[in-house]
Amino acid sequence: MSILLNDILLRQIPQHLITGHASGDYRIYGGVIRSVSEGRIVGHLQQTGLLETLVGQAMPLAKSISPTGVLDLVGTGITIAQNEQIKRGIATLQSMQSMNLLLSGATLGVALAGTAITIAKLNAIDAKLDAMEGQLAKVAADVEWIRGDLVQADFARLKAVSEALDDSWLMQNSAAEWRHVGRDALTLAGLFYARAMRALEGSAAERATSDAFISAYALASEIGVTARMAAEEDAAAFAASQRRAEALLDYGARIRVPYRLTGQFAEALSKAPDDAGVLQESSAIPKLINHYAEETSAALARESSAIGNASVLQTLAGQGISGRAWLEAARGEDSTAVLFLPAG
């Protein structure tokens, strides 16, 4: 870690911020800690290489990677960690309720990419596709743009790009490779985003695929931003992170349209006009509401992560810290799961 970063970074979140978060004075948004009353950014949380290591160790112990899998994995990591300092470092994440973000497949700070958490996220996307029980194949049979073989090939490329980014850290002259990875990742991101948006306009079966595609977009574009940072192309990384945040907000706005929820009520009611139970818990209407709540909650996690990512880059630029130095510091950190960067 550079001397400059060593002077700035904290391995513990200041106690007054933890207290202030508990009292509601501060709010964590995508790894950004903000003052509620002033809207001022007071600092950024950054997940570290230790978190990656713990997830990697815990992953074989996990029975499955569910949407809550990352949280389960990190929870297991707390159990297996022998070092008390490490346990405290991870526990800090829980005390700040930042786990909710990781739980949704989001990232605190910038993605380190290419290691355990990325693989866990890819597995979570796979799980989403599997959960559709052949729906993708069914849709693919009728709709050319969603052809199953092309989708599978793109997911395989996404995994390869993620691994290539990680491998680049081991290369003597890695700048060219990182640029290549960044271009590939952002190209893939564009393909996944187009599919996600198009799926929203299609049939119910097509719409069901959109969540997996937007998750893949979020991951691919995150890798692209990280690759730009690693290549010391910080201005390009910041521009890509802003585009990413705007794209995810645009997608989220489509998801949130209330009539996507309320427009289904009349049909649900017409199927059981004489059944008061249609309104009871676990029946049609509450299920529709819960599904909408889950979708919008996942969208919020992706958006806040992306905005937080862009915000970190802005803070780094303001403090004269290169993206590459930041990534190296986070990757090399082995005593705490989360670093704290004061906004200055």
Binding site: R34, G252, P258, Y259, L261, L269, A276, S297
Partner: protein
């Protein structure tokens, strides 16, 4: 405003939209469920003969006022809660206004519909009318009045006019059943169904053309969010 500030602000408004859409849907679903239980009790207590002879009166005089009396304060509370949260993040506000004189208008509309329906035949007319409810009256007014120094859109949200349709449906089916078979339990059951349809159509059902109170509220939330996103 910097680009990142804009993104933070936009996200806050988006979160407001989904949070209050969910809150409105959950709250009005609960209110509808409670009102259905209450209406079932009212149907049980009703004099079935008067329910057969004037089921429209039963829905208009017993069910409809109960629904409005219970649900309108809830709808107002939903809007006030949304406005309170929005005031912290944006310069837009939805305004609830109960349309003046609407109840009298409903009575007249109901009378006209009744005449047409009885002439056309009770059962057939019931189906058509039930399919058409709720007939909502929505008017939007851009006031142009400044709020917190900026332009604000005020929208009048009206109570869904389902009384005519709902009551007529109940009347048609009930009268038809009375004419063909004198089975009080069935009539009572159908009256209960009509009361339930009236409640769910008023509060939750409908579509963009004939919006329930939930659709009106959440559509207004969406308009406000869309305007705030482009500030």
């Amino acid at each position: 405003m910097g680009l990142l500030d804009h993104l933070f602000g936009r996200s806050a408004v988006d979160q407001w939209l989904s949070d209050h859409t969910i809150a409105a849907a959950r709250t009005l679903t609960q209110v509808a469920a409670d009102l259905i239980r209450e209406s079932d009790a009212l149907v049980k207590e009703a004099d079935w003969q008067s329910a057969i002879l004037s089921p429209a009166d039963f829905v208009t005089s017993t069910i409809a006022p109960t629904v409005r009396e219970t649900a309108e304060p809830v709808a107002i509370a939903i809007l006030e809660d949304a406005n309170r949260d929005l005031a912290r993040i944006a310069q837009h506000q939805a305004v609830w206004t109960r349309s003046p004189g609407q109840d009298a208008g409903q009575a007249n509309d109901y009378g006209a519909l009744f005449d047409v329906a009885t002439a056309a035949g009770p059962i057939a007319a019931s189906v058509a009318t039930a399919a058409a409810i709720p007939m909502a009256a929505v008017s939007t007014v851009t006031s142009g009045i400044a709020w917190l120094g900026l332009g604000v859109t005020s929208t009048v949200i009206s109570w869904p006019m389902v009384v005519g349709g709902g009551a007529l449906a109940g009347l048609g089916i009930a009268t038809g059943a009375f004419n063909s078979a004198r089975i009080p339990d069935k009539i009572r059951s159908r009256l209960r169904t009509r009361a339930r349809e009236y409640i769910t159509a008023s509060l939750l059902g409908g579509d963009e053309a004939n919006p329930s109170i939930l659709i009106q509220l959440t559509t207004q939330f969406e308009r406000v969010a869309e305007a705030a996103r482009h500030q």
